[in-house]
């Protein structure tokens, strides 16, 4: 039937041609990994290795964290054919609320965090109400939110200006690292727990991929040729291994990275494995058909905007924690970074298409650009232009490859 079921191919010629074919059939899927890889190599060369240093990679991950979290939520919003422009300033505002909660109301951090997350959900629900119940276009509804939260940030920071946060637990979110396994004193320059987690990650990945492949073969579905499959596993393991090694060589995994990983894991699970996820993509693919299939489109709208609000709150707190303070400018342009990350990561404006993991890669691409250009000392004005060009290139790539492969 299809030629992609070939699992033989020990000759080097067929190996190379297999790789070429798999790549060209799946450009859409692998494109952004390749782009990320290319960007990293370019910056490593132009910065003479500084970009790839342990310290900078840790920095990069922490910088990308708050946008990555937003991009995950934005992916789902765009998947159901909506947009949310209010997320940036909502995040900034809720970051300030968290700061006020701790400094002025003297609430403990373990009350403040859930409280702010719930406030985020409520804010998202308001937009969902306008969009789903009253039929207002989400662009307009969320633009109103954008203005309102911008004003709200100014109001709450008016009296004091920047609000300094002194809570160490809270600040660890953006600056701290996971602890070392107690009692392990050997090999002091390496963070053992990080290393252990990385190894567990690689083992789980390989295990999962092999299980999936077996399953697919059992049902005669197309799978990658064996050699390409192994290459893919090696590539991904090396990538995770390298990042783990770099992180372990500094201070280990940061709490920000942990938060992002948990968010990605949860959302990836929801979108790929659950009924809810399937319903979200169905609404994006064809809302009328979804409604007639018994899916409550309004309910999905509430859930998706609610989750977006919650992630905005999380994003705002990550940012405030990183700066150890809430500022008047927090939230500026975040929504655009998140939207750009989602598009670079392969979501489609037509709805129904887009993966959470893709958007994270998109966020890493955008943040690597900023970080790398900063290291190179390129001025902010050119940075904007380069990021714009990369966004345009990503969307052109998306359109050009839309009808390729499956």
């Amino acid at each position: 039937m299809s030629s992609a079921t070939t699992t033989r191919g020990s000759k080097p010629v067929s190996f190379i041609s297999n790789i070429a074919r798999v790549l060209s059939e799946n450009v859409r899927e692998y494109g952004m990994f390749i782009a990320l890889f290319a960007i990293m190599i370019i910056f490593t060369i132009t910065t003479e290795g500084t970009f790839m240093s342990s310290r900078n990679i840790v920095n990069l991950v922490n910088q990308a964290g708050y946008i990555a979290v937003l991009a995950v939520g934005m992916t789902l919003v765009i998947v159901i054919r909506q947009i949310d422009l209010s997320v940036g300033f909502l995040g900034g505002f809720l970051g300030a609320v968290a700061a006020i909660g701790m400094t002025q109301w003297n609430l403990p951090v373990y009350i403040v965090i859930p409280m702010v997350l719930v406030l985020g959900i409520l804010a998202g629900m308001i937009i969902a109400f306008l969009v789903g119940q009253l039929g207002i276009p989400s662009f307009v509804a969320s633009l109103a939110g954008w203005l309102i939260y911008r004003g709200a940030i100014l109001v709450v920071t008016e009296a004091t200006g920047t609000i300094i946060i002194n809570d160490d637990t809270f600040n660890a979110l953006g600056n701290g690292f996971i602890p070392e396994i107690p009692g392990l004193t050997f090999w002091p320059e390496i963070h053992k727990l990080t290393l252990l987690l990385g190894i567990i990650g690689i083992v789980m990945l390989i295990f999962n991929e092999i299980k999936n492949r077996k399953n697919k073969l059992a049902y005669n579905f197309d799978v990658l040729p064996m050699d390409v499959f192994i290459l893919k596993l090696v590539f991904m393991s090396v990538l995770i291994g390298a990042v783990t090694w770099l992180l372990a060589g500094y201070q280990g995994l940061s709490w920000t990275a942990v938060v992002v990983l948990v968010v990605v894991a949860v959302y990836n699970f929801i979108t790929t494995r659950t009924v809810l996820g399937r319903h979200i993509y169905a609404v994006g693919g064809n809302p009328e058909a979804a409604e007639l299939s018994g899916i409550d489109v309004k309910k999905i709208t509430y859930i998706v905007f609610g989750s977006m609000g919650m992630l905005s709150a999380l994003s705002g707190m990550l940012f405030a924690s990183r700066l150890r303070s809430a500022t008047t400018t927090a939230g500026t342009l975040w929504e655009l970074d998140a939207i750009a990350a989602a598009y670079v990561g392969g979501v489609s404006a037509a709805g129904g298409v887009g993966k959470v993991v893709g958007s994270i890669i998109g966020a890493l691409v955008m943040m690597s650009l900023t970080n790398g250009m900063n290291l190179m000392g390129i001025g902010i004005s050119y940075q904007y232009m380069v990021r714009g060009a990369v966004l345009a290139a990503a969307v052109i790539f998306d359109v050009a490859t839309r009808n390729r492969g499956k």
């Binding site: 992609a4 009924v275 169905a282 058909a289 007639l292």
Partner: protein, 529 residues
């Protein structure tokens, strides 16, 4: 046939017809050894196809035979280089790289899904992408004048300034044709133009094609309605599995229904409505009483005092012209997604029910296969498997997590029992042919395991072979005790499949009869009064 009766309409270009007679001998279009493959599918293999000037050439074949693909190759949708083989027009080889190129060469294609802009006026649509300019600006006076001329030519009697969305499908179809004629078309391709039209509109359209032919326009017509093919074709080319099987010449008496079917399907089908024993129990499964609906968007009442019922194991046919309110009736019952104001009573197995959302109707054992499978039936960008299971994921999941293995098994089961032609169940539905899409749609609702199945135009755009299969499936479903409500505008289908028939006309039921007492004339009379 109509080709000798000269049209009453004045041709704006009288030389055209003279020109035709002079060059009759040379084929106008020749497609030679066309092969087109998609990943996993060879849609066309070595197809050759020849059309002479001034003829109506019908292209028939089973779903997925490659008819639409062949026409997409011809019209530049699949550009030169994406297929192998050659295309000649008037002996000159053509290499189209886009639809624009083929338009320049005089080819116009009208897809089954109309490509008009609903919010624009008739005249704007006719000249869209072909605007009449006066310097940099559009010359609106000339546009309206020229639009009126072509509208007259196609017999479209509406205000040129009317918005497309206010017109019925039949009239929209005419706008499409007017649009094609406005740019000097040599070959007009129509892909299943009558599948969405009622009998009257279909007949009008076919007459128009005869008129155009008399004016020298060459037509390629794709259709699954063999009756109309036999009525209008000069030649018929049959495709099967991506290969040309035969080209039949009507003037040599070769165009006969049984011959076409045999070439299409590869075997003989004597009765396309398979027999079943009519064992209908007395148990009333479904009943609607004093059902009224008001559509606030249109500002009028769409359903008036409807009463009907369905027994266990019965197929009830609901006949009526398009636009008579049949689909609205089904929607108002099925959870009312369009938010009509509905009153009346609904009983399922004797229990009074009221549905506020389709999911409640599904929960009560009702399924509705929509009329418009692309618009509100399927999620085209998702695969066959996901479409089949979307309405009943609950059955495949534990605590909200889908069990992929059972999902695959369910989808495979329907792929096999409905004989869905697709390389794998992971194929995106948009890549399937129309008939196979319809089967996916049916599979999706059978997987809900309903007691009452509402089918809205279940065989629209489906080939004879697949029709036969779907009818056979319907028979086996009622024999297992399911009740079926079949909405259809095809009278032979209503007469061939129903146990009992209701006729709907402008939102009311105008007649009810057992199938033994029904005739085409009787139903038509009730449907048009």
């Amino acid at each position: 046939m109509g080709e000798t009766s000269f049209p009453k309409l004045v041709s704006p270009n009288p030389q055209e017809s003279a020109h035709v007679e002079g060059t009759m001998a040379e084929p106008l279009l020749e497609m030679r050894n066309i092969t087109k493959t998609f990943p996993g599918v060879k849609a066309l293999s070595d197809v050759s196809f020849e059309v002479n000037k001034g003829e109506i050439h019908c292209l028939v074949g089973e779903n997925g035979a490659g008819k639409s693909t062949l026409m997409k190759v011809l019209s530049g949708v699949y550009p030169h280089g994406e297929y192998t083989g050659k295309i000649f027009i008037e002996g000159v080889e053509q290499t189209f790289h886009s639809i624009r190129d083929s338009e320049k060469a005089g080819i116009a294609i009208i897809y089954q899904e109309l490509a008009l802009v609903p919010e624009m006026t008739v005249y704007e649509n006719i000249f869209l992408t072909n605007e009449i300019r006066n310097g940099p600006l559009i010359d609106w006076n000339e546009t309206v004048k020229r639009a009126s001329e072509v509208m007259k030519r196609v017999g479209l009697d509406v205000n040129p300034a009317a918005k497309i969305k206010t017109l019925g499908v039949g009239k929209q179809q005419l706008v499409e044709i007017a649009k094609a004629l406005s740019r000097d078309v040599k070959i007009l391709i129509l892909d299943e133009p009558t599948s969405a039209l009622n009998e009257v509109d279909s007949e009008n359209l076919l007459n128009l094609l005869r008129d155009l032919k008399a004016n020298g326009v060459t037509c390629i017509l794709i259709s699954h309605k063999l009756v109309e093919v036999i009525g209008i074709a000069d030649k018929v080319t049959v495709l099967r599995d991506g290969k040309t099987i035969s080209t039949l010449n009507a003037h040599a008496g070769e165009v006969k229904e049984n011959v076409i079917i045999k070439h299409m399907v590869g075997r003989e089908i004597d009765n396309i409505y398979p027999k079943r024993e009519h064992i209908v129990s007395d148990e009333i499964m479904f009943e609607v009483r004093n059902w009224n609906a008001y559509n606030p968007a249109l500002g009028r009442k769409i359903l008036k005092d409807i009463n009907f019922h369905v027994k266990k194991g019965e197929i009830v046919g609901i006949s009526g012209l398009m636009g008579s309110g049949r689909t609205e009736l089904a929607l108002s019952i099925f959870g009312n997604p369009d938010k009509y104001r509905v009153d009346g009573e609904l009983y399922i197995k004797g229990k009074k029910q009221r549905f506020h959302h389709p999911n409640q109707a599904i929960g009560a054992g009702v399924a509705y296969v929509t009329e418009d499978r692309k618009g509100d039936g399927l999620i085209l960008i998702q695969d066959v498997k996901q479409n089949i299971t979307i309405a009943n994921l609950r059955a495949l999941s534990k605590r909200g997590v889908i069990d992929f293995n059972s999902e695959i098994q369910a989808a495979e089961q329907y792929k096999q029992s409905l004989n869905i032609k697709t390389p794998t169940i992971e194929q995106k539905v948009m890549n399937l042919s129309g008939g196979n899409q319809q089967k996916v749609s049916l599979g999706k609702w059978l997987f809900v395991k309903p007691d009452i199945l509402i089918l809205d135009e279940p065989t629209r755009g489906i080939d004879v072979g697949a029709k036969f299969e779907i009818y056979t499936i319907m028979n086996s479903l009622v024999q297992q005790g399911m009740s079926i409500i079949m909405i259809s505008s095809e009278l032979p289908e209503i007469l061939g499949m129903s146990d009992r028939i209701y006729v709907v006309s402008s939102g009311s039921i105008t007649g009810e009869m057992p199938v033994e007492e029904a005739t085409q004339e009787k139903i038509m009379n009730l449907a048009t009064n």
